[in-house]
Amino acid sequence: MLGSGRAFRRPLPGRVSSHETALGHVHTRAPDSDAMNSRSLPYLLIAPALLFLAVFFLYPFSLVAWQAFSTDEGRLTTEHFADMVGYWKFNDTLRNTLWLAAIVVPIQLVLSLLMATMVSKMQRGRDMVLYIWTIPLGISDLAAGLIWLAIFEQTGYLNSILHGLGLIEQPVAFLGYQSKLTLFVAIMLAEVWRATAIMLVILVAGIGLIPKEYNEAAEVFGAGPWQRFRRVTFPLLKPSLQTALILRVILAFEVFAVVIALSGTQFPVLMGAVYERQFVLRDTSVAAAYAMLILAISIAFTLLVLWWLRVPKEARI
């Protein structure tokens, strides 16, 4: 954000000076000014988008940040963070969010890689399978939560089926406050079902970009399916994996509607805490502090992903 802000300011003087050169030395300096123009052109073209971003994103964002770090009298303070951390549910909230991400994201990574390699190998019906797998993408996360609620609730499908099979006498409260584990599993399943496809789509596109010859060469030189994946497909897929993982990790820390639909407030997560502070307790400053925390975690994990899947510049395709 800071970087783009600087990029926004830099081109303007450049543009003006190139203009002057063009006017002042049309004959002698024409090639030079052309070069200057073509250098500043991209910045000019993205300027409106940057302006939009500044007005509708950077400005409100700085307001929220200011709110998180200031008192009503306008002094700098960390008391809202102290308030946030001191709250009795805070540790649970943070732990739940991190655990959910730590378990859901790797599962989705493996699943989407498996599905993407399978889809890419298919000769026929490939588009059909891809469409079916990406259906959950078209459903909002609240709706997705409600679908899984219909399965897991006390009068839901799962209980009906188990009862119909004679496996249980009484309906089981899968989502009750005593059964933390099944609640966690239900949320996990719903998240995996809902958001794996976004990674899948990115990875299928990424695999499509890898020339077939690389895998064939690996095959001829003795690599089996696993070695081909590990030594050829995976390294060449890193740029797509980066995109998919960053997108997914950030969404994982923002998990909200699915959790609310399935658990109400029994499974507190960070985004739920933001909502609670802002709209139930009317404590905007602490809500802002939570938002800052989510941002910090997202940035940290984004950097982690960038580092883990880094490709040396000279080794790129």
């Binding site: 690389y214 095959e219 003795g222 080794a315």
Partner: protein, 348 residues
């Protein structure tokens, strides 16, 4: 011993018959070139031998093993791909070492082989670089080194020089030939470039529309084409063809002249002669000169004989000009005859 025997191999892609009952035997340590126009099935045949494609019918043997059911890595082959397929995420060293690591050789052995083949292909200063930092010619050398390092029984190459510029191609041609000759491998080399084929091959297999039309040593292919197609494909410019009709047993009328030819009882044959196998002066064929192409060492004349395009190569000192009518004398022992129905050569 790595003789390759290809028996009745056919390949269909849906309704396309890419290969039709191919029979070909390549001797141990032979350099066999598959030559043909684009789309005639060369790559498909090579990929079937490599195991990257499954034949619809037929068998492939390498040495005394039947390999067509085996995966590529069990066939004792190495391959140089047309676009090199040098892994961009690995250094040159690791690219060359790739197959050796897969074969779980000891590190010391890998190091020895990588250094030896890299030195052989003159890329030893590049071992730490990535493919993106190499020129096309260097990438090509890496691809060859990677194949040689495997010390395979068989090396398969699919148009390995086609992406290089003309000068580099000539240089690599000679280099590849000598390196492969020393490596004791059996080679199948695919190309659509006849100069490459003629200059490198022990034997050439000419392919056309999924068939092998002729398989022989380069000189034989050039001098004694087994079919009309071979004569019209090989040679730059290729053979001249004229219609011939039978006058009497062994006597044929060609462009108004009577020439002696095969004692066939067919009514019509095709008369064929290479542009350089014609002398200008006294002769039976009357040609009108349409175009002159002085090429330094010789001059190429584009003429018309009997309303058919006809090319003649003459010494650059010969004085001819456009519009001249020349008397041409085809050298009798170089004249070839083809059956217009079967397209095959008719012995004279």
């Amino acid at each position: 011993m790595a003789e390759i025997r290809i028996n009745r191999v056919a390949k269909q892609f849906g309704k396309t018959h890419a290969l039709q009952a191919i029979d070909l035997t390549i001797a141990d340590r032979e350099f066999m070139v598959l030559l043909g126009a684009s789309g005639c099935g060369k790559t498909t045949l090579l990929r079937i031998v490599a195991g990257l494609e499954t034949a619809t019918a037929g068998q492939v043997h390498i040495g005394d093993r039947r390999v067509d059911q085996l995966p590529p890595k069990a066939r004792g082959i190495a391959m140089v791909f047309q676009n090199y397929a040098v892994f961009p995420h690995l250094t040159v060293y690791e690219n060359i070492a790739f197959g050796l690591r897969m074969a779980k050789l000891a590190d010391s052995e890998i190091d020895k082989r990588v250094n030896r083949t890299a030195a052989l292909m003159h890329i030893d200063p590049l071992l730490k670089r990535y493919s993106g930092q190499l020129s096309g010619g260097q990438r090509q050398r890496v691809a060859v080194s990677r194949a040689l390092a495997m010390e395979p029984d068989v090396i398969l190459m699919d148009e390995p020089l086609s992406n290089l510029d003309a000068l580099l191609r000539m240089e690599m041609r000679a280099e590849l030939k000598s390196v492969l000759a020393e490596s004791n491998t059996t080679t199948i080399y695919v190309t659509h470039d006849q100069v490459e084929a003629m200059s490198m091959a022990d034997r050439i297999a000419i392919m056309d529309q999924g068939h092998i039309v002729q398989c022989d040593v380069p000189v034989e292919i050039y001098r004694n084409p087994a079919a009309h197609f071979v004569g019209s494909f090989i040679g730059n410019p290729p053979m001249n063809f004229l219609k011939a009709s039978r006058v009497d047993t062994g006597q044929w009328r060609v462009a108004g002249a009577t020439l002696s030819g095969p004692g066939s009882d067919k009514n019509a044959l095709d008369f064929a002669i290479r542009p350089e196998d014609i002398t200008v002066g006294e002769g039976p064929l009357q040609a009108e000169v349409r175009l002159l192409e002085p090429l330094g060492s010789h001059t190429l004349l584009a003429c018309r004989v009997d309303n058919t395009a006809f090319r003649v190569i003459v010494d650059s000192d010969t004085s001819v000009s456009i519009g001249d009518t020349l008397s041409l004398n085809p050298m009798a022992d170089r004249v070839r005859w083809f059956d217009p129905d079967t397209q095959l050569a008719v012995p004279s």
